[in-house]
């Protein structure tokens, strides 16, 4: 899923400094699961804003909503009936949700309430970690199911650099070396011969480098 985390409150307060009536909108998708932008976070953020503004003697009116998803037009439509009553939206969805909301409702500004960080997993309660960089051309079958693009700090495709030490990456003893993980896994799978193949120069054009991406499925189009 997409992992995000709340922006510092000061940053959000600065965005809405001149607003008196705002909507804080969460999303029940990924950001709910990673506790960054679900209903609970909408409530917490809204009360924090209210308190801060009351302290400044500059109260603000906030409506709290949490949509099923902000990346689907169908759910975004639900705001149509009331959005015009507000001066701004603070969206706690991922960057995609914030943008899609802004795209659908052009009259008022839509501000990001969280930072969108990565595509990752819940390692344990309260710990998330990156797994995928959406390069658009998956090679996990060659690397023991561990992505060197996302998990090696240099996205090396042909094996560990000279800085890998005791399983850790050279950049930080708290970061696992992606290539150590790949090596261990290939050994477990008795597939170390996969390592010996030179991985050819990658075509990055399926990734962000090819420009903004889109997928069109004729079979599904209405």
């Amino acid at each position: 899923m997409i992992i995000g985390e709340g922006k510092p409150i000061q940053e959000i307060l600065a965005m809405i400094a001149d607003k008196k009536k705002i909507l804080v909108v969460g999303c029940k998708g990924c950001v709910t699961v990673c506790s960054a932008g679900g209903q609970k976070e909408v409530e917490i953020l809204s009360s924090t804003i209210r308190l801060a503004r009351e302290k400044e003697d500059n109260p603000i009116e906030i409506r709290e909503e949490t949509l099923e998803r902000q990346c689907d037009p169908e759910y975004l439509e639900q705001m149509r009936s009331y959005i015009d009553d507000y001066e701004a939206v603070v969206s706690l969805a991922c960057g995609a949700g914030v943008q899609f909301t802004a795209e659908k409702y052009r009259r008022i500004p839509v501000y990001p309430g969280i930072n969108t960080n990565f595509i990752g997993v819940t390692v344990e309660q309260g710990v998330w970690s990156e797994r995928c960089q959406a390069c658009g051309s998956c090679i996990l079958h060659k690397t023991g199911g561990i992505c060197p693009i996302a998990r090696c700090s240099k996205s090396l495709l042909n094996g560990p650099c000279g800085g890998s030490s005791k399983g850790k990456c050279e950049i930080d003893p708290d970061v696992e070396c992606g290539w150590q993980l790949i090596y261990d896994r290939l050994r477990e799978l008795e597939s170390l011969e996969l390592f010996e193949e030179v991985v050819p120069i990658k075509d990055w054009s399926t990734g962000r480098d090819g420009g903004p991406r889109r997928i069109i499925r004729e079979d599904l189009k209405s």
Partner: protein, 307 residues
């Protein structure tokens, strides 16, 4: 002979090679690198010029190599894939070749986390193995990566680095083999302090006959002090400094530690010279270039052959 490289000539003729390195200055003054390089004249066969090592911005490797070339010295242009995509890489290779640079060392480069511009975006369009492939392709096929022909070919003798002391140890021989498949012709290793481990790695190299396919130059770096040895041990990732060496430096008076460091380096070279499959020594005297000649001399590596 595939190139006009003096280093290639020496290695091909079966002579033991000696290389060293120069870090370019953090400024515009060419005299800094001239002075360092002059100290190495006739003490070594070729001089590596680092490419923004440890991600600290310096004068470019390519420009510094040109300065060395103008002095009649033999540069080895280090190139990291951290800062350039395949367009810039190929362009720099052409430029270097046009200036008569005949050696190149293909590296991934230290992560920018180590340097003075930690907020930078890194590139890593290619990794070091793919950089080897790229130069090899340009040189031997006379083509760009796109498949388009190029006018003339860059006559680069192609090198890479390997660190026998990094983890996982078991992958360090296969990785050399991979670099050979990609087309590498010489390898310079990380500084050797743990000779036992290095010998173990060389056993692996010989077991696969890789020493017959690539020239291996063993790296050494003299310690200036026990402080430096401790720093290398604890702060430089992938560096293996045995405790005995630190103890040995500690056992001599502070003002004698530099001499002891040099003595240790010379002993290491003596042992490395005897290892089958080691074709040369790469002396990395970090900001201590004035000691390279003495080290080479006392290790019986001088005079250097005239080719």
């Amino acid at each position: 002979m595939k190139t006009l490289s003096k280093l290639e000539k020496i290695l091909e003729s079966g002579k033991f090679a000696v290389t060293s390195e120069c870090g370019p200055p953090r400024g515009v003054n060419p005299d800094v690198i001239r002075k360092k390089a002059e100290l190495l004249r006739d003490a070594v066969d070729a001089i590596n010029v680092t490419d923004n090592q440890t991600s600290v911005v310096r004068m470019s490797s390519i420009a510094s190599c040109i300065i060395l070339k103008q002095m009649g010295l033999e540069p080895i242009m280090q190139m990291v894939t951290r800062d350039r995509n395949r367009i810039a890489i190929q362009s720099d290779i052409l430029g270097a070749a046009a200036h008569g640079i005949n050696n190149m060392l293909c590296l991934s480069g230290d992560h920018q986390r180590f340097g003075d511009h930690q907020k930078a975006k890194n590139v890593y369009d290619l990794d070091s193995v793919q950089l080897i492939q790229t130069v090899r392709h340009m040189r031997d096929e006379g083509k760009f990566l796109s498949g388009e022909p190029l006018d003339g070919v860059p006559g680069m003798f192609i090198g890479a680095a390997e660190n026998p002391f990094a983890d996982p140890f078991e992958i360090r021989v296969p990785r050399v083999s991979k670099k050979i498949s990609a087309g590498v012709e010489f390898i310079q290793t990380q500084c050797v302090y743990n000779l036992e481990k290095f010998e173990q790695w060389m056993d692996g190299i010989r077991a696969r006959g890789l020493h017959k396919k690539v020239y291996i130059l063993a790296g050494v770096t003299p310690f200036k002090s026990v402080g430096m040895a401790r720093y290398m041990k604890t702060k430089v990732p992938g560096m293996d400094v045995p405790d005995e060496l630190i103890e040995r430096l500690k056992s001599v008076a502070k003002e004698k530690q530099a001499d002891e460091g040099i003595a240790l380096c010379i002993e290491t070279i003596e042992r490395l010279k005897k290892i089958e499959g080691v074709s040369g020594i790469h002396i990395m005297a970090i900001e201590w270039e004035e000691k390279v000649r003495e080290i080479a001399e006392k290790s019986g590596l001088l005079p250097r052959p005239k080719v």
